[in-house]
């Protein structure tokens, strides 16, 4: 108990140095936490994937569409419960910087496949009845201050021209992990227009979303779907929604790896700073440690004192850093919601912050503790005075 008292008081004995070290640790943990949250946000779509949903796309590439007639055939495959479809629209709202994901979907089936998108029944009915109707996520509507009934114009990039939509519904997520920044409109509206301007691209779906009866039959069902279109003009590739999303993440793998490296480097840098602090502290306290050894305290107690002091500093800094991560993440999410629709500080990130603090303390105290234990008492005592 007295040793705990000594290490706590030692940790804050030199207030300026301790404060600066804690500040450094807090900033490093904040940066580490934000970078980890960025990585988590990349994986948010993967984490939110349902095990009972499959995605069927063209086997050659996602950029090639599939005939809409496949929907009926897929529906007949054993294990399939629901089939929906959609296309990536890629429209721009006013300016390119106002990016948000926008899709045309089959409104009847899509929302039954995605129960996590909660839409008021009246709004859903209005959306179904209006060919030009659209539904936007709550965050997206808030960002652009859209209200029900507003006309929203998107400039097509894949499908040229200005496309007017009437906002008929605003969905909200079932929980915080659901993306509320998406924009949906009716596939039939797009298809009818495409039929007029470029008939060759009509009656095509970019992807099919397939709901299966049970998660455990998902893999077999995927194989059966692909087998049904084997040797056709447009062979399919069916995979779980999670695998499909991970496939997209593979494109950003280099960026994710770079972020991971930077977050580790930040921890290594602050580890060196803490090690420097502990080296200075231990050198100053060599007399105290020698006294303790003189009185009969051993290597274990001296090591505990030094590691404990480092741990008090790193945990204090880490705790402050973790507390700061929440408001920082909130600001980050508000400013960059376009790119990171789900930007939540996960429990895993907090565990990693804590683990980083313990590792920092451990590695920062190894050399000072080893030195303090090894120094001869007589030599240590000579430093006093």
């Amino acid at each position: 108990m007295l040793l705990a008292k000594i290490l706590f008081r030692n940790a804050f004995h030199n207030k300026l140095r301790s404060s600066l070290t804690i500040l450094g640790i807090a900033v490093a943990i904040l940066a580490f936490g934000l970078l980890r949250t960025v990585i988590s946000s990349f994986y948010a779509g993967v984490e939110a994937s349902s095990a009972s949903r499959l995605v069927t796309r063209n086997a050659i590439s996602i950029i090639f569409a599939l005939p809409i007639s496949y929907a009926g055939k897929i529906q007949q495959v054993e294990g399939v419960k629901t089939v929906s479809w959609g296309n990536w629209f890629g429209g721009i709202y006013i300016d390119e910087k106002n990016f948000f994901p926008n899709f045309c979907i089959d409104p009847v089936t899509y929302f039954s496949l995605y129960p996590e998108f909660i839409l008021d029944e009246k709004q859903k009915r209005d959306f179904l009845l209006d060919r030009k109707g659209a539904v936007a996520g709550r965050k997206l509507a808030d960002k652009y201050k859209w209200k029900i009934g507003d006309t929203i114009t998107l400039k097509g990039t894949i499908y040229p021209g200005n496309w007017d939509f009437v906002l008929r519904g605003i969905y909200r997520g079932r929980d915080k992990t659901v993306d509320e920044t998406q924009f949906f409109f009716q596939w039939s509206y797009l298809n009818e227009t495409v039929k007029k301007i470029a008939p060759v691209f009509a009656d095509k779906a970019g992807f099919f979303m397939v709901g299966v009866n049970r998660p455990d039959i998902a893999a077999d069902t995927a194989v059966r779907i692909d087998a049904a279109f084997k040797n056709s003009l447009a062979e399919t590739l069916t995979e779980t929604e999670k695998a499909f999303n991970l496939g997209f993440l593979a494109m950003a793998e280099a960026i994710i790896t770079a972020i991971q490296m930077v977050s580790l480097i930040i921890i290594l840098i602050i580890m060196a700073v803490v090690a420097n602090t502990m080296a200075m502290t231990t050198r100053e306290r060599m007399g105290d440690y020698s006294i303790l050894k003189t009185l009969g305290f051993g290597a274990k107690e001296i090591t505990l004192l030094i590691f404990g002091e480092a741990l008090v500093l790193t945990m204090t800094g880490s705790f402050i850093g973790m507390l700061l991560t929440y408001p920082a993440a909130h600001i980050f999410a508000a400013e960059l919601s376009t790119y990171f629709p789900i930007f939540l500080v996960s429990r895993t990130t907090l565990y990693l912050d804590s683990a980083a603090a313990v590792l920092m303390a451990f590695f920062a105290s190894i050399i000072p503790a080893r030195h303090a234990v090894r120094v001869r008492i007589a030599d240590g005592l000579r430093r006093i005075g």
Binding site: R9, G298, I377
Partner: protein, 274 residues
């Protein structure tokens, strides 16, 4: 005044009907005054036996011999002063006797234990039980209050928290610092800090007390107080004290005086001529 004290790791009680088994009543004022001579420590058999000690320091490839063929005994209850010029090896010899340094050859028996054969762990345990240390610069832990500093060595005993606190308070009372228990070293004068160091040194009732220039950092008045206190510890409580000093006034308080010069003990044991 009743002087009570904790003895080693075991507890003994004696006389005056004390119900607390953690204390031994050593003396009362009345007893001290009525028959002071009975309280005087009488040097008897050696408590420290030093045989043919050699010690040198190694600095890289350089070997610096410090002590040569040191042999002498210190009787139980003796107050010995080691004197000599700087670099004569006084502190080194004191460190060897106290078990905080190791001799190159020879043997040192303290209380019947050959400390030159002990491992580092055994030596640490032995120091905790058998030696009380008083240093020139007090060497108190600055972040601990006076009473916590005195309690520190008791953390290596089986005493409860309450018992540790009681013993520490008792030791501080004995050095006249009952009113300064909650003060940090930085809030006390040099003399007071040295008294706290003495309380810490005696709180475990060690076999020997070693003091390295205990008055070296004190003004004359404080130095006199400390020396008187050490004298009382020797005279009234029978403590064996080995003191290194440059100061003839400090050495004059010792019963036995020994001189070291260039690593050699150059005189025979004898009554202090000072």
């Amino acid at each position: 005044m009743v002087v009570v004290f904790y003895v080693g790791r075991t507890f003994r009680s004696a006389g005056t009907g004390s119900k607390d088994p953690g204390y031994i009543v050593l003396a009362t004022d009345a007893a001290c005054n009525s028959d002071k001579s009975k309280m005087m420590a009488e040097p008897t058999k050696p408590i420290v036996e030093i045989q043919r000690i050699y010690k040198s320091y190694h600095r890289d490839s350089l070997v610096v011999p410090v002590l040569f063929d040191i042999t002498f005994d210190i009787a139980a209850g003796e107050f010995l002063a080691l004197m000599g010029p700087s670099g004569s090896g006084k502190t080194t010899l004191l460190n060897l006797i106290a078990g905080i340094d190791r001799a190159d050859s020879g043997s040192i028996h303290v209380g019947g234990v050959d400390i030159t054969t002990l491992t580092e762990t055994e030596l640490a345990a032995w120091r905790a039980n058998s030696v009380g240390f008083i240093f020139q610069f007090y060497n108190l832990i600055p972040v601990l209050q006076a009473v916590e500093n005195v309690e520190l060595p008791l953390h290596l005993t089986a005493l409860t928290k309450k018992q540790r606190r009681e013993h520490a308070q008792m030791a501080l009372s004995m050095v006249g610092l009952a009113h300064r228990m909650d003060h940090y070293p930085g809030e006390m004068s040099g003399g007071e800090q040295q008294r706290v160091a003495i309380a810490r040194a005696i709180v475990t009732d060690p076999t020997i007390l070693v003091a390295d220039e205990p008055t070296g950092d004190l003004d004359r008045v404080s130095a006199e107080e400390i020396l008187s206190m050490m004298e009382r510890l020797n005279r009234d409580m029978g403590k064996t004290i080995i003191m290194v000093t440059h100061d003839p006034r400090a050495a004059a308080r010792a019963q036995i005086l020994r001189h070291l010069d260039k690593g050699y003990l150059n005189d025979a044991a004898g009554q202090n001529p000072l």
